[in-house]
Symmetry: C2
Subunit: 611 residues, 2 copies
């Protein structure tokens, strides 16, 4: 991840010699002999290349088909598990129409679902506006933590001095100003103040801050699965029912968004993403135009002494123009995740999937196509607009020249990337820094040690980029294949270990990521086939039309796969949901697991559920 | 309907003077003054026309929105009715996978659905290959009818002669050759022979000819409605579940078609329809090239004396070239219905909807655009291919000239068409002919009197054509508006009467036809807006771009409508299905109503169900 913007920046600046060129002209020439670049125009040997295109495509279809089937099996197995998972008994109901008779949302939901499911309806949780309650709850939790910390400090001080030193702090800004107080007493007093306040706020929220959506619970899995797939009301914009996400990944603030708000937000976000992908260079160009060395000197005069050092000036002079780009590329995934959440998506996993999709298009269009053609998409826009067919030819003509760059790119990825991944040096340093300066209690240390989530939103688009590169060069410069094989082979070993033993998943989406990846792999394959069409055209190969069936085959394959497999990834098949459970579910535990922590202090720990 | 091919033929032959021209030049000139044709190029008065385009579009949106809501209400009302309708308790299951353990389809269906719906599953009917049984059944029914008829003839003869004459017939071909036998005795003997044969065949069919689809019954409406909307198996190509159509409109021979067969058939049919719409003139041209007078004389020498009469020769000389076209246009709806059924659609109503959609595109593309531009689509293909934008301009340039033709077309439609419709002269003549020569028993007379179905498949596309014409000329030649108003106003009066008092509906689709019509009305509106864009272009109106938002508005409106309303037309909302019933359904009657007559001699008459 960290490497990408650097590499891109290196490649984009013409002033800096290319990484590859430093290995000497020889390496480049050798590669040229191994690639298609040395094949003669109109040569008969091009037939072999055409045959390889078919081979690559057919192997891709076969593997994708098998993989889809495999993931589908895994999903079914997970969904069929006899253990009780709360989200399988619940559905999320949105767009509840406002009642003309003045009933509350709670009453409406209960009467509506009790009529349709008289025997299997259990209870409902109406989504409430929790902002105020959450604020009090967080304050309370903070106080509790601080009391615990103060008590430990007090205990530790007793070891030195039998009487101990009662910890104190100031009540003002950041503990720097204000009255000095005894921490344990102060926070305990605050807790006794806040507890009744929280209870009162909870009552008010439950009664007056009901929003027009709810979580509805059923006493069996089949009803919940069927309900999530059925239209409940005549109009699609009322009583929208979908599968409930896991409690831990619910995005509570998105749940109340209405149907039309969601639709409009979606299109607005798509538009923003489209603009970002096509024209991201404009704001970055503007910013880098202003952040030149002379400007910095003028605006931030206190930096003068540093900027006057020759070596610093040289490095900054070379990299400053790229800094805005590097910062932008580093922040982009977060920005895309923010945009995806702004669409009104109800669950974390769905938002990350959406962000990952957006990032993929950015990365393929700008990094792969951008680097190959040279310059950004925006620059090539005018040419492409004049003659839309020219893009594949342009791409094809520039591909061989960039083979070495991408070879190095893939190699760097697995040499440096996997090394960093396995050693986890960065998290280790952060942990030790935290333990030294921040952690006071056992809990704090544990929290600092806790490894993060895998981070699908950025990892998958990056892997997809490598796949796109490998596919596109597979015939033109087959030397990329061992690199690709090592990248994914090592990746399998490394991430198998990391996923099983290091990372703690933040959520479980039951394999819903796969269809997204499948479609994007096919998009990469289509790009490969289009490029090959262009490449054979450039080589003036007379039988170029024998490549034509390939893109059509890809489109048909994609259509058949989505027809056959995708429905089951959208919703749970009843056959799967109807598998018998190990025990009768304790509906009260299921119900409680969905109550947000700020609304229920005595929340049942989730571990009890997944047993 | 009958008029259309004639008019088209009249218009297409340049030899025959146009219908309109016979009314004199004056009428044409008058119309020209009332139409936009007299507006000056680049004139400021064109603003008024542009404003009218907006007015027409917005009124259309408003009426369509209200109509969709209204139809949706009607559908809900019909579906919510407290009476018991068999199809609301059943679903149609197709693509049942073949069992690896050698279970029969019946056993598979029962165990599969009993597991998912342990409480609400009732029974299933497995679809069987009924061809052999049906043949025996029809023979039996025929014998029963003939016995009844022979007994009536015998009874009638007794009135003349107290002993009576026992009716006899010959057993050979068409009753002309073979041994002479006593009809009553002969048919009674045949009935006693066929009855056990039918029973045996029924048993064999039930046991050995089970196919891979079934009708499944539930004890309540909500479960059936939810089941039809849920994925039951992990793969879409197994255990496909949809709403069961009414028993009387099930297309039994289509039920066993597998998922992939249906998909492939659909695309093949679409391709054939596309070819038919674009290139129908080629085979017709070939046929009419061969059916010239000299050719007829050569091939059918026995026609010579007739062809030698001068008047016959003149008429035939003028019309022969068009005969193939007229025959083709008359047979087209039947051909399209046949194609739609060949797609593997399970119900008659759905097949008629599909045929109606195909006919609409044929009629609008070939009659409206074809007549306007002159010649068939095929002729204009090359021009359009060279410059795809030219079609709207070409259409716009030719529209004013054809205003009078279409005015006459609409007027003829309601003068002659509604007259024929109201008087029902053709069915009356046919009835009297039948009664005189064919009907022997009371039942025969009743059958001959029975009015047919409304025939949606041809009626609706024709009305849509009138609507397309009216919309497209609404601004260019507003004189069409009163004609259109009279057509639809009179049509409302006439068909209200016909539908309520004359026609007997063959099926009930609960308003599923409306979304199809809605989309096609919007397609007509889009055509109107595109034409107007072209027309303003031809008039060199500087502010033509103010029309641009209109097509975009239409597309958004269509999208919003289909999002909001269409889901409920696809499947039954659970809110609607959960309405209480007047009485507990007698599931045995529901079940029996779906057994095809040849499989169950003691079928419960449907009237008992709909009480």
């Amino acid at each position: 991840m960290v490497l990408l913007p650097l590499l891109l920046a290196l490649h984009a600046t013409e002033k800096i010699p290319r990484v590859v060129d430093s290995t000497g002209k020889n390496a480049f020439d050798d590669l040229d002999k191994l690639s298609m670049a040395h094949l003669k125009e109109r040569g008969h040997r091009l037939f072999a290349s055409a045959a390889t295109c078919y081979w690559v495509s057919i192997v891709t279809y076969y593997l994708l088909w098998k993989a889809y089937k495999h993931v589908s099996d895994l999903r079914a197995e997970a969904l069929m598990s006899a253990g009780i998972r709360a989200e399988q008994f619940a559905v999320l109901v949105r767009d509840i129409p406002s009642s003309s008779e003045g009933y509350s949302t709670k009453q409406q939901v209960d009467s509506f679902f009790r009529q349709i499911y008289p025997e299997t309806y259990y209870k409902s949780i109406v989504v409430t506006e929790n902002k105020a309650v959450c604020k009090i709850y967080e304050e309370l939790e903070d106080c509790k933590k601080k009391v615990a910390r103060a008590e430990i400090i007090y205990g530790n001080s007793k070891e030195v001095n039998p009487e101990g030193v009662r910890p104190t702090h100031r009540t003002g800004l950041l503990g720097l100003i204000g009255k000095k107080v005894d921490s344990i007493e102060y926070y305990n007093k605050k807790i006794t103040e806040l507890t009744p306040k929280l209870e009162a706020a909870q009552k008010v929220t439950l009664k007056d801050k009901q929003q027009r959506s709810a979580l509805v619970f059923f006493t069996n899995r089949v009803t919940a699965a069927a309900a999530a797939q059925s239209a409940h009301a005549r109009m699609i914009d009322t009583w929208t029912v979908i599968d409930a996400p896991e409690p831990r990944q619910l995005l509570w603030t998105n749940l109340h968004k209405t149907f039309y708000e969601r639709e409009v937000r979606q299109y607005v976000v798509y538009f923003i993403v489209f603009m970002t992908i096509c024209f991201y260079m404009i704001p970055i160009g503007l910013i880098s135009a202003f952040t030149t060395l002379p400007n910095l000197r003028k605006l931030l005069p206190f930096l003068k002494p540093i900027l006057d050092i020759t070596s610093v000036r040289t490095v900054l002079g070379a990299y400053l123009p790229q800094i805005a780009l590097i910062v932008f590329l580093a922040l982009l995934p977060k920005f895309l995740l923010f945009l995806s959440k702004a669409e009104g998506i109800p669950s974390q996993s769905h938002a990350e999937r959406a962000a990952s999709g957006k990032y993929f298009y950015f990365i393929v269009l700008n990094v792969f196509i951008g680097v190959t053609i040279g310059g950004t998409l925006f620059d090539s826009f005018k040419d492409i607009q004049k003659n839309p067919d020219s893009i594949t030819q342009k791409l094809a003509a520039s591909l061989p020249g960039n083979a070495t760059f991408f070879l190095t790119f893939v190699a760097l990825k697995f040499f440096v990337g996997y090394g960093l991944e396995l050693s986890r040096i960065v998290p280790l340093i952060i942990f030790h820094l935290k333990r030294k300066f921040l952690c006071k209690t056992e809990g704090d240390v544990k929290e600092a040690w806790l490894p993060s989530d895998l981070g699908y939103a950025t990892r998958i688009p990056n892997d997809m980029l490598i796949l796109t590169i490998t596919l596109c060069y597979s015939v033109i410069a087959p030397l990329i294949l061992p690199f690709g094989a090592v990248y994914f082979g090592l990746g399998w070993l490394v991430f198998r270990n990391q996923v099983l033993k290091v990372y703690v998943p933040k959520y479980e989406s039951y394999g819903k990521m796969w269809p997204h990846m499948h479609v994007r792999i096919l998009a990469a394959l289509l790009l490969f086939q289009a490029t090959m069409l262009g490449y054979f055209g450039v080589k003036q190969f007379l039988y170029t039309p024998i490549i034509f069936p390939l893109p059509i085959m890809t489109i048909i394959f994609s259509f058949v796969c989505s027809k056959k497999f995708y429905r089951f990834f959208q919703s749970t098949a009843l056959e799967v949901a109807s598998q018998e459970l190990k025990e009768t579910p304790n509906m009260e535990i299921v119900y409680n697991s969905f109550i947000p922590p700020c609304m229920n202090a005595d929340k049942v720990p989730e571990e009890q559920l997944n047993v």
